[in-house]
C-alpha cells in the first residue's frame, strides 16, 4: 500500500489510541460495564461501524492479521470496505480465515469456529444500552446499572412471552456478565449468545455514535436472561446448510428466484467454504454436481 | 367494672372564627356516670347540648376540659385526651354508637355494613354475616334489600341498618342517638326489646330519645342536661 506516511499508523493519532486503550482496559477490568470514551469522527457514517473501527485501530499492531465480517460474511460491502481501510492505513495482513486472524471485527455475528486464546473479537455496536427501549433517561439507566436494578429487563422478556407465547427476542438478546452487569451483546442472533460464555478470546464492543466501549474478558461467565419456566433457547434450523450440509450453525435464507425458490445456507461464509473444501456438500451442491 | 363510664366536669364550647370569633358555650361541668346494665337517657329541651355530649363521648367533638373515663381492655382510658388511634381502638372494642343517620359507604351491601364491626373484632366473615342476617330479620328489613348498598333505602330502612350495625357487637358502652326516630311502632318495639337485652347483658347505655313512650320504657334514669348549662355554671 502507498501513501501510508500521510496517515498515522491505523488512522487514529497516538493520543486518541491511548485514550481508547484506557477505556478498553477499564472495560476489561469491569466486565460488561459501559465505559464512556471520546469517540472520534471517522471517515465513514455512523452506523457503519465507527465504534468497532476505533477499537480495532487502537489495538491493531503491524503483526496482526485482520478479518472483518458483516453478518458472518467476509465479502459484503461493510466488511470489504473496513478491511480495505485497514489495509490502506495500517498495511496489516488480512484474511478471511477465522483460524488465521488475530483480530476479527464483526458486525452482528460470532464465527462458527471456536475462538482461541490470543484472538480478539471486536463488535460494532449501534445501541449499547440494553435498558434503553424501556427507560429513555440515561441518568436513570446508569443508576439502574449502578444499583443492579435489572427487573426491567425481565419486563421486556415478560412482554415477549405475553405477546407471543415464548421469548421472541431473537437478536440483541440481553445477557448478564460475570453475575453483575446486564449487557447488550450487539445485534448478534441469540444463536451466538452461548459462544460468548467462557470464550477463550477477548471480546470488545465499540459504539461510536453512543460513545461507549465495553468488554468481556476471556473465560468470563455470560448468561442469557430468561424465566425458570421459559428457559433461554437458541434458534433451531430444521435443515442443514444447503451448500455444506453443516448442522447446528446459523443459517441465512437466500432467495433464489422470483418463483419462491429459496435455500438456507451458512451465514458464516468462511466456515461454509472450509467445510466444502473438506468435501462436505449440502443438497444444493449435490444437485448442481448431478446437473453437471 | 360496674361503672364502665365516668364523665367528670366536662366543658365544651365552640369558637366560631367565621363569625368574628364568637364563643358559644355548650355545656359545662358535665358530671355523671353510667353503671353496667343501666340505661341513662339524656333529657331536657332541644338545643341544650344532648347531642353534643353524645358526640364528646364518642370523640367526634373535642373537649375543653374535664375527663371522660372509660374502662377499655381492663384499663381506664381518658377519651378527652386520648390519641386518635386509642380512640379508634376504644370504638372498635368498647364503645358503640347508633347515630340518627347512616353514613353510607358506596357499593357496600347492607349485610356487610352491619357485619363490619364484628369482622373488625376478628369474627370470621361468614359468622359475622350470619349474625347480621339475624339482626336484620329481627328488625324486619326485607331480605331483598340485604345485598344492596343502602344509599337508596328509605329513612326507616337506613335507620334499621344502622341499629343492627350498632347492636351487633357486645361493646360494653353503647351510645344511642334517637335510634327509634323514624321507625314504625312494630320496629320501635323490636328496638326496645333489643335495648332490654343489652341491659340484661350488662351493657352501659346512654341515649337520646324524643319519643316519650320509648324513653319511659328503656330509661333507668333521666339525666336533665339543662343542669349542665354553662349559664348555671357561671352563676
Amino acid at each position: 500500500m502507498t501513501d501510508l506516511a500521510t496517515y498515522n499508523f491505523a488512522y487514529l493519532d497516538e493520543q486518541t489510541k491511548r485514550m481508547i486503550r484506557r477505556a478498553i482496559l477499564k472495560a476489561i477490568a469491569i466486565p460488561g460495564y459501559q465505559v464512556p470514551f471520546a469517540s472520534r469522527e471517522m471517515p465513514m457514517p455512523y452506523g457503519w461501524g465507527t465504534g468497532g473501527v476505533q477499537v480495532t485501530a487502537s489495538i491493531l499492531g503491524p503483526k496482526d492479521v485482520l478479518k472483518v465480517i458483516d453478518q458472518g460474511a467476509d465479502d459484503t460491502t461493510n466488511a470489504v470496505s473496513i478491511r480495505a481501510f485497514f489495509q490502506k492505513v495500517a498495511d496489516v495482513a488480512v484474511t478471511t480465515k477465522t483460524k488465521e486472524a488475530t483480530i476479527i471485527q464483526t458486525r452482528h455475528r460470532i464465527p462458527e469456529e471456536g475462538l482461541r486464546e490470543g484472538q480478539t473479537l471486536v463488535y460494532q455496536v449501534p445501541i449499547p444500552e440494553p435498558l434503553r427501549f424501556l427507560e429513555p433517561r440515561e441518568t436513570e439507566t446508569r443508576k439502574m446499572h449502578a444499583l443492579e436494578e435489572y427487573g426491567l429487563m425481565h419486563v421486556k422478556l415478560y412482554e415477549d412471552i405475553a405477546r407471543n407465547g415464548h421469548i421472541a427476542t431473537t437478536y440483541a438478546y440481553p445477557v448478564k456478565v460475570e453475575g453483575r452487569y446486564v449487557m447488550d451483546p450487539s445485534p448478534t442472533p441469540k444463536f451466538d449468545n452461548p459462544k460468548m460464555h467462557m470464550s477463550e478470546a477477548l471480546q470488545l464492543f465499540g459504539a461510536g455514535r453512543e460513545k461507549r466501549i465495553y468488554a468481556v474478558p476471556p473465560y468470563t461467565e455470560v448468561v442469557s436472561l430468561d424465566f425458570e419456566d421459559h428457559p433461554f433457547e437458541v434458534q433451531k434450523f430444521d435443515k442443514p446448510c444447503a451448500l455444506c450440509g453443516a448442522e447446528n450453525v446459523y443459517l441465512d435464507e437466500v432467495v433464489l428466484d422470483d418463483k419462491g425458490g429459496r435455500m438456507f445456507a451458512c451465514s458464516d461464509t468462511d466456515h461454509c467454504e472450509d467445510r466444502r473444501d473438506c468435501g462436505h456438500a449440502g443438497h444444493m451442491l449435490a444437485r448442481k454436481e448431478a446437473a453437471e | 367494672m360496674a361503672t364502665p363510664l365516668v364523665v367528670s366536669e366536662v366543658a365544651k364550647s365552640f369558637t366560631m372564627h367565621l363569625r368574628d370569633g364568637i364563643r358559644l358555650p355548650v355545656v359545662a361541668n358535665v358530671t355523671f356516670s353510667v353503671k353496667a346494665g343501666e340505661c341513662v337517657v339524656l333529657g331536657g329541651p332541644s338545643g341544650v347540648g344532648k347531642s353534643s355530649i353524645l358526640k364528646m363521648l364518642y370523640g367526634n367533638y373535642g373537649v375543653d376540659e374535664g375527663q371522660i373515663l372509660m374502662e377499655h381492655d381492663g384499663k381506664l382510658v381518658n377519651l378527652a385526651t386520648a390519641e386518635p388511634r386509642t380512640v379508634l381502638e376504644v370504638r372498635r372494642a368498647t364503645l358503640g354508637y347508633v347515630s340518627q343517620f347512616l353514613r353510607v359507604v358506596p357499593r357496600v351491601s347492607a349485610l356487610d355494613i352491619v357485619a363490619e364491626p364484628l369482622q373488625g373484632r376478628g369474627v370470621a366473615i361468614e359468622d359475622a354475616r350470619a349474625r347480621a342476617a339475624e339482626l336484620l330479620s329481627k328488625l324486619n328489613l326485607p331480605t331483598a334489600l340485604w345485598s344492596l348498598p343502602p344509599a337508596t333505602f328509605s329513612g326507616g330502612e337506613q335507620q334499621r341498618v344502622n341499629i343492627a350495625r350498632g347492636f351487633i357487637t357486645d361493646h360494653k358502652i353503647l351510645l344511642l342517638d334517637e335510634p327509634t326516630a323514624s321507625l314504625d311502632a312494630k320496629n320501635r318495639a323490636v328496638v326496645v326489646e333489643m335495648i332490654a337485652e343489652k341491659k340484661a347483658k350488662g351493657t352501659a347505655l346512654i341515649g337520646i330519645f324524643h319519643d316519650e313512650e320509648v324513653r319511659d320504657v328503656v330509661a333507668d334514669r333521666i339525666l336533665d342536661v339543662s343542669a349542665f348549662s354553662p349559664r348555671n355554671a357561671a352563676a
Binding site: 424501556l134 443508576k143 444499583l147 443492579e148 436494578e149 435489572y150 427487573g151 426491567l152 425481565h154 419486563v155 415478560y158 412482554e159 412471552i161 405475553a162 405477546r163 430468561d226 424465566f227 425458570e228 419456566d229 421459559h230 | 365552640f14 369558637t15 366560631m16 372564627h17 367565621l18 370569633g21 358526640k55 370523640g59 367526634n60 367533638y61 373535642g62 386518635p84 388511634r85 380512640v87 379508634l88 381502638e89 359507604v105 358506596p106 357499593r107 357496600v108
Partner: protein, 258 residues
C-alpha cells in the same frame, strides 16, 4: 394494637431558598393507620409527602422508618440502593397522574409484575398469576392483562397503578391526590376500592388530598396544613365535626352539600 410506630417524623422542615415548603412537622404513623394531609394548593402538603417518601431531602428534621428487621432507620442516611429497594418493596407511591407511576408502553400484566421481577421473581407463570390476581382485585378484567395502559380510562389507569404498588405487599403507601383527575362516579369507585384494600391488607397510608370527603372516607387521622405548617390535627371525624382553627372551619364550611 401495635405499640411501635412505623414512621417517626421529627421536626421536618423544607425550605426552597428562603421560601418555606413545610416547617416543623412532627408525627408518628402506626401500622395500619391512614393519615390524610389536607390543605389548599401551596400549603406544603405535597412537599411534606415528598420529604417523607425520600423524594425530597428535608432541610432539617429526621424521618425514621421501622424496617422489617425491627430496626429504625433514618431515611436520609440510608444508601440509595437500600432506599430504592425499600421504595419498591415495602412502600408504594400512588401518583395523581397515573402516567407518572405506570409504564405506559408495557402491558398491564407487566406493569403489575415489574416489582416482582425487580425483587428476583423469575417464574413467568407465577408472575402472571400474581398479576391476574391483582388485576381482579382492582376490578380490571383479566382479558385486559396484555393491553397497555394507554388504552385504559383514567379510573382504570389509577386502579392499575394501585395494583402495581401493592403486589409486593408493602406496609406503607403514599398517595398524592389519588382521585385528583377523575370523574365523581369514578372517584367513588376508586375510594371504595382503596378503602377496602387498606382495610383488608392492614396498610398504613399517607394520603395527600384537598378533598375532605376523601379524607373522611379513607383516613383515621388527619392533619390540616396552611402556609407550610400543620395547624390542626387529630381524629378525622373530630377535625371535620369540630374544627378548631379558623382555617379548618373555613375549609369544612366550604364543602358543597349535595
Amino acid at each position: 394494637m401495635s405499640a411501635v410506630p412505623l414512621l417517626k417524623v421529627n421536626d421536618v422542615s423544607k425550605f426552597y431558598g428562603s421560601r418555606i415548603g413545610c416547617r416543623n412537622v412532627s408525627f408518628d404513623l402506626f401500622p395500619g393507620e391512614v393519615l390524610a394531609i389536607v390543605g389548599e394548593s401551596g400549603s406544603g402538603k405535597t412537599t411534606l409527602l415528598s420529604c417523607l417518601s425520600t423524594r425530597l431531602m428535608p432541610t432539617s428534621g429526621i424521618v425514621e422508618y421501622h424496617m422489617r428487621d425491627g430496626q429504625y432507620r433514618d431515611l436520609a442516611r440510608m444508601g440509595e440502593a437500600e432506599r430504592r429497594f425499600l421504595m419498591r418493596t415495602d412502600w408504594g407511591f400512588v401518583h395523581q397522574n397515573p402516567a407518572d407511576g405506570l409504564r405506559m408502553t408495557v402491558s398491564a400484566g407487566a406493569n403489575v409484575g415489574e416489582r416482582l421481577m425487580a425483587v428476583g421473581d423469575r417464574h413467568y407463570g407465577n408472575i402472571r398469576a400474581a398479576a391476574s390476581d391483582w388485576l381482579e382485585r382492582v376490578e380490571i378484567g383479566i382479558d385486559r392483562i396484555d393491553d397497555q395502559p394507554r388504552a385504559f380510562s383514567g379510573g382504570m389507569r389509577q386502579r392499575l397503578q394501585i395494583a402495581r404498588n401493592l403486589v409486593t405487599s408493602p406496609r406503607l403507601v403514599f398517595m398524592d391526590e389519588p382521585t385528583g383527575g377523575l370523574d365523581v362516579s369514578v372517584q367513588a369507585r376508586l375510594l371504595d376500592l382503596v378503602r377496602g384494600l387498606v382495610h383488608d391488607l392492614g396498610l398504613a397510608a399517607i394520603i395527600v388530598t384537598h378533598d375532605l370527603a376523601v379524607a373522611r372516607l379513607l383516613s383515621h387521622r388527619m392533619m390540616v396544613m396552611k402556609d407550610g405548617a400543620v395547624i390542626e390535627q387529630g381524629l378525622t371525624d373530630r377535625v371535620l365535626d369540630d374544627p378548631r382553627e379558623p382555617y379548618t372551619q373555613l375549609l369544612v364550611s366550604s364543602i358543597l352539600q349535595v
